[in-house]
């Protein structure tokens, strides 16, 4: 395994919880891995499965979806929809034998900076173990 491999991880973070949580982690000078690139969405319910598929097929090594804890959504029920969409996406990828472990869903609230730090580090580690996304090598996609 390539030890210097720094994965490219795209994170879709909800504006009200996870993004603020990530912001707090930054202000508190916590260690956030350089592998994660954050895309802010107003609600995790805005994350179309297609966004995730597109990033995955373009060769991102991992995709993180983050939102408010169930019941805490700023728009009442956005994250419940996210959860269902995630289940659907996960089942599709699992059935097709594509690396469903490269895509994950976490609930991180605005005050959970330590959790954000832990989650991003853990996910980066697990992606490092998996190696680069094999999709990137496929020409006929």
């Amino acid at each position: 395994m390539d030890k210097d491999f720094t994965p490219t991880i795209i994170g879709f973070l909800c504006n009200w919880c996870s993004y603020t949580g990530a912001d707090l982690a930054g202000t508190a000078r916590m260690h956030i891995p350089p592998s994660i690139r954050i895309i802010r969405v107003m609600c995790s319910g805005r994350i179309d499965p297609l966004f995730v598929l597109r990033t995955y097929l373009k060769g991102a090594d991992g995709v993180m979806m983050m939102g408010c804890h169930p019941g805490d959504c700023h728009y009442q029920k956005g994250n419940y929809s996210t959860r269902r969409r995630y289940v659907m996406l996960d089942t599709i990828l699992k059935t097709l034998g594509l690396d469903e472990k490269r895509i994950g869903l976490w609930w991180v609230s605005a005050s959970e900076a330590p959790r954000y730090e832990k989650v991003t580090n853990e996910f980066t580690e697990s992606i490092k173990k998996m190696g680069p996304n094999p999709v990137f090598k496929e020409i006929f996609i």
């Binding site: 959860r83 269902r84 059935t95 006929f140």
Partner: protein, 412 residues
């Protein structure tokens, strides 16, 4: 409350029997004629063979004398019935009573479209019919006469022959009499018993040996039709259900081995791209799909167009780049859009000029995905689409656990 529920159940467990006089198709057409004649229906939507060629199309008939040319059991599915119905009611509800005689998968597609607000069913009477399956369109067009002979044998025997399309061989919803959904759907406990079935009226002939038809109504609209038909002979459904159940069990077995086979065949990114290698990005599968209803498809939009520099950069990153682009994204994306409503009708594969096994892939993925939501598409009008509803306490296991959960809990 309980006793009324029981009574209702017993009531639905009987059907009307009609003996076939001469030809099966003629008898079915006779029923429609009667409904048109006594003005129960204003028009019927039925498949009809094109006068000069061997192709089939949907026709909306108001004149009962023209019904003679119709064919209620076409050997192929040229246009999905759900799509035909969609085009009729696209601009709003019809105020004429239309009876649509369609295969169960077409009815189910129509119900899915109804849930998506694309079809108005208020004045439409959905009449389903036991489906012997359909032949692959290409093979049929190559040799229509022989294929028709073959199909007649299948109709008479009622078994899932290997000449049929692969998705027809594994279909479990060929008859609404023995459909697995009626017992399994969760909403059966809901107080509103109306609309729990996909079709209003079902015409069954599996188990009748070509001599008898069995008609059952599951909604008040269907009961109305049945009344106007003035059929006298009642029969319990047990025997008819058993006949369908036998076919369903063998189809279920086929389905299991089918899922396994395809999962092995296309599992992994390499195998999956190989399976879709032949795709020429014509998007026919999307255009004929009954549940792909979007007026403007995301994959036809300009969102996916990029500047030449971007393509060059992408080619540089990967080494080379195939055009047309985004084949996998199209199929995976389409899957994420409609697979929960996929009724496995096989229209996509019939339309594919390159014989990519799209319907088989979608059917396999659809079966697994629908199972994770315990959802059977198009069987119950009152069960909402999985992505349009949610429960607060479900799928709690999907969130990936984190070590810090424990420590945080400890602190609190």
């Amino acid at each position: 409350m309980n006793s009324t529920g029981k009574e209702k159940k017993e009531k639905t467990a009987t059907g009307k029997i009609l003996s076939v006089e001469g030809d099966l198709r003629k008898t079915i057409k006779g029923l429609l004629k009667k409904l048109l004649k006594n003005n129960t229906l204003d028009a019927v939507l039925v498949p009809m063979k094109a006068p000069e060629t061997e192709s089939y199309a949907w026709v909306l008939l108001e004149d009962e004398t023209l019904l003679d040319a119709a064919d209620p059991l076409p050997p192929v599915m040229t246009v999905q019935g759900g799509r035909a119905l969609d085009s009729i009611t696209k601009q709003g509800d019809v105020y004429l009573k239309i009876g649509a005689l369609m295969r169960p998968c077409e009815i189910r597609a129509a119900v899915e479209l109804y849930k998506l607000n694309q079809v108005k069913l208020e004045h439409i009477h959905l009449i389903s019919i036991d489906c012997p399956g359909a032949l692959p369109l290409k093979e049929y067009m190559d040799n229509p006469i022989k294929s028709k002979e073959n199909f007649e044998k299948i109709v008479q025997k009622g078994d899932k022959n290997e000449a049929l399309r692969p998705v027809c061989q594994i279909c479990q919803h060929f008859s609404l009499l023995s459909s697995p959904s009626t017992e399994e759907t969760k909403a059966s406990s809901s107080p509103d018993t109306e609309n729990h079935s996909a079709a209003d009226l079902h015409i069954g002939f599996f188990g009748g040996n070509g001599k008898k038809l069995c008609l059952t109504a599951s909604t008040s609209k269907g009961k109305d039709l049945l009344e106007k038909l003035e059929l006298s002979q009642d029969d319990s459904l047990e025997y008819w259900k058993a006949a369908g159940e036998k076919i369903r069990q063998s189809a279920l077995k086929n389905r299991e081995s089918f899922n396994k086979e395809w999962q092995e065949k296309i599992g992994g990114i390499e195998n999956f791209t190989t399976a879709l290698d032949a795709c020429i990005n014509c998007h026919n599968c999307m255009r004929v799909c009954p549940v792909c209803y979007c007026q403007q498809c995301y994959f036809d939009s300009k969102i996916l167009e990029n500047s030449p520099e971007t393509y060059l950069q992408r080619a540089q990153e990967r080494g080379s780049l195939r055009f047309p682009l985004d084949t996998l994204l199209f199929h995976l994306g389409r899957m994420s859009h409609m697979v929960l409503s996929c009724v496995s009708c096989g229209a996509c594969e019939d339309a594919c000029p390159m014989s990519v096994p799209v319907s088989q892939i979608f059917s396999m993925v659809g079966d697994q995905t629908q199972k994770s939501f315990q959802y059977v598409p198009g069987t119950d009008r009152n069960v909402p689409l999985p992505l349009q509803s949610f429960l607060k306490d479900e799928f709690c296991e999907v969130e990936i656990p984190c070590e810090c959960d424990q420590s945080l809990l400890g602190k609190a």
